[in-house]
C-alpha cells in the first residue's frame, strides 16, 4: 500500500531524511514516534505531495508521489500539524469548499457533509463560523475535511496536539472508528500511550533515520534491553541481598528497606530468570512478590531520544 524507497531530504547541508525505507500494508494503522525535528513531518509532507525528496521515492497504491502527484492526491487525506481556517466560512461551507476542490458533485456533497459532521460529532456546529470553533472542534473538522473524498490513506500529523484531555479522547475515538473502516492511517503523536493503544505498527525515527519498525510489542521488546526486577521479601532482606549479589546477570542492586524490596537490573534471558527464581526458592529466600518493570512506549521514546534537545 505505502512503499517508501530510500527517501532522502536535504535542506541545504541539513539532512532531514536519510535513505528512509518503509512499507506499510493496507488497513494498517502506523504510528510515527520521534523527537521534534526527527523527520516525521518531512516524511508526511513528501507523502502528501507538498515536498519533493532530494532522492528516493514513495509509492501510494503503486503511484509515485513525485511523478503521479495528482493521482496520489485523490488517494490521501492529509491533516497537517499546524493549520488555519477561513474566517468567514461556516462549518458546512468549509467542507463544501473542500468537497468541490476534490471534484465531488454538489448533490453528493449535500449528502456527505452531514454524515461527516456526525462522524466527528459536529452536527450541532454545522452553521457556526469555523474560526469561532474551539481548537478541538477545528481539529475534528479538519479531520472531516481530510475524509471528504473518501481517501484510502490518511496522513495525520499530530492530530491531537494542543488538545485538552476530553478533546483528545474524542479524537482517539474517531480514529478508532476510522481504523474499523479499514483506512490505512499514518499518524504521528507525542501522546505515546495513545499511539501504542491505537496503532498496529510503530515506526521509530531519529535524525531522519528509521530506528525501528514493527508491532508495538515487538518494538518495545527490541528496545527493552535490560530488565529491572523488583522482588519483595518477607523479613530476610540481608539474605536476599547476599543471594542476588552472587548472580552474574545481576547489577545495580538496591535495597529498599521501607518497602521490604530488592531491586536490580537483570541481563539474563527468560530461561536464566526461571533458574534464578528456582534457586532462590531452594535457598529459602521468602519471596512473596516479583515484578518485572515493563518499559512502555514513553520509556522507549525517552531511551531513543536521549540527549536530543526539545
Amino acid at each position: 500500500m505505502i512503499e517508501i524507497k530510500g527517501l532522502t531530504k536535504k535542506y541545504g547541508s541539513f539532512l532531514a531524511l536519510d535513505h528512509f525505507e518503509l512499507t506499510v500494508d493496507e488497513g494498517v494503522v502506523c504510528g510515527f514516534v520521534g523527537a521534534n525535528g526527527a523527520g516525521k513531518s518531512t516524511i508526511f509532507s513528501i507523502l502528501a505531495t507538498l515536498l519533493s525528496p532530494t532522492a528516493g521515492d514513495a509509492l501510494i497504491n503503486g503511484q509515485s508521489v513525485i511523478r503521479e502527484s495528482a493521482e496520489v492526491r485523490k488517494q490521501i487525506g492529509y491533516m497537517p500539524d499546524f493549520f488555519g481556517v477561513y474566517d468567514q466560512l461556516k462549518a458546512d461551507e468549509y467542507l463544501d469548499f473542500y468537497g468541490a476542490s476534490y471534484g465531488i458533485p454538489a448533490e453528493k456533497r449535500k449528502v456527505l457533509i452531514p454524515e461527516l459532521l456526525e462522524l466527528v460529532n459536529l452536527t450541532d456546529k454545522r452553521y457556526e463560523y469555523v474560526d469561532l470553533l474551539s481548537r478541538g472542534m477545528k481539529q475534528r473538522l479538519c479531520l472531516a475535511r481530510s475524509l471528504i473524498h473518501d481517501p484510502k490513506v490518511l496522513i495525520l500529523d499530530e492530530p491531537a496536539s494542543g488538545l485538552d484531555p476530553r478533546a483528545r479522547i474524542e479524537m482517539r475515538d474517531i480514529l478508532r472508528h476510522l481504523k474499523s473502516m479499514g483506512k490505512t492511517i499514518l499518524i504521528s503523536s507525542h501522546i505515546l500511550p495513545e499511539l501504542a493503544e491505537m496503532c498496529d505498527e510503530i515506526v521509530v525515527i531519529d535524525s531522519g533515520k528509521l530506528i525501528a519498525h514493527g508491532h508495538v510489542e515487538s518494538i518495545q521488546a527490541q528496545l527493552q534491553g535490560d530488565k529491572r526486577i523488583k522482588v519483595k521479601v518477607l523479613n530476610r532482606l540481608a539474605d536476599a541481598r547476599a543471594f542476588f549479589e552472587e548472580d552474574p546477570f545481576i547489577s545495580g542492586l538496591e535495597i529498599l528497606e521501607n518497602k521490604q524490596e530488592v531491586a536490580f537490573t537483570y541481563k539474563g534471558t527468560d530461561e536464566d530468570q526461571v533458574e534464578l527464581l528456582r534457586k532462590a526458592l531452594l535457598s529459602n529466600i521468602p519471596i512473596y512478590s516479583l515484578t518485572v518493570e515493563e518499559k512502555d512506549l514513553e520509556d522507549v521514546f525517552m531511551a531513543i531520544t536521549k540527549g536530543v534537545d526539545y
Binding site: S45, A48, T49, L50, L51, S52, I66, R67, S69, A70, R73, K74, I76, Y78, P80, F82, F83, G84, V85, Y86, D87, Q88, L89, E93, F97, Y98, A100, S101, Y102, G103, P105, C142, R145, H149
Partner: protein, 287 residues
Amino acid sequence: MQQRFSNPVLMKELKLRFRTLKSFSGLMFYLFLLFIFVGGFLSVFTQFTGTGFFRPNESFIMFAVISILQMALVMFITPGLTAGAISSEREKQTLNILLTTTQSSTQIIIGKLLSSIAFLILLLIAGLPLYSVVFLFGGVSPVQLTTIFLFYLLTIVAIGSIGIMFSTITKRTIVSMIATYGGMIFLGAVTAFLFFVGISFETFGGMPIPTSGGTPPSSPVTYFWAAINPGALMLTILYPESGTQLANMTGISFPVWITYLIFYFAITVVCLMIAIRKLRANMKHNR
C-alpha cells in the same frame, strides 16, 4: 459540464470577499470619492458659467478627468486586492491543505485572480451611474466609454496578475504588496518620467521635433515608455490628436492602444505562468 467549468477557489473567494465589512466600506469609499468629484465638478462649472447649464465640451472634460481618476483609483486598489491572494493563505496556514486537494495550480491561480477582478468590476459597475451623468450633457459617445472600460479591464487583469505573481513567489504579504505597488508605480509613473527624459534628451540632443511635414527621427524606446503608460493610453483614447502628436515626437505612428494591448497581455500571461509554476514550488512536477 457545470462541474468542469466550476472553480471552487473562485466561488469560495467571492463568498468570503462579499461577506466582509471591508469590501462594503471599500465600495462605499470608492463611490463617495467619485461622487465628491462629479458633484464638485458640476457645481464648480455651473457657478463659473453662471447660467446653470453645461456645454458638451465641458461635459467631455469631466468625462476625461473622471476616466483618468478612475484609472488611478483602480490601479491603486488592484495591488491591495491581489498581492495577498496566495501569501495570505500561506500566512494563515491554509495553503498546504489547499495544495493537497485535486485542484490544479492553474485552477487555484485563476480562481484567485478572477475573484479579485470580480470585485474590481463591481467597483466599476457601481460607479457607472455616477459616470453616466456625463451622458445627460452630451459630448461623449458610448463607444468611447466602452473602449475606456475595456482598457480598464485589461489594466486590472495585468496588474492583478503581477500581484498574484508576487504573492506566489514571496512568503509574506507585506513584501508582495510593496513589490506589486512598485510594479504599479513603474507602469504608472516611472514610464511617464522615462518618456519625458527621452523626449528632453532628443530635444536637447539636437534632434528637433518637426511641427509639420518632414520625417521625425525614430525613437522606439521613448515611444515604448509612452505606449505602456496607462495615462498616455487614456489621453490617446480621449483625445486622438494626442496620438498623432506622440507619433510626431517619437517618429513612430503605430497605434498606442495596440502596443498597450500586446504589452499588458504579455505581462498577464508571463506573470500567471510564473505564479502557476511557483505555486507548488516545493514539488518538482507541477500541474
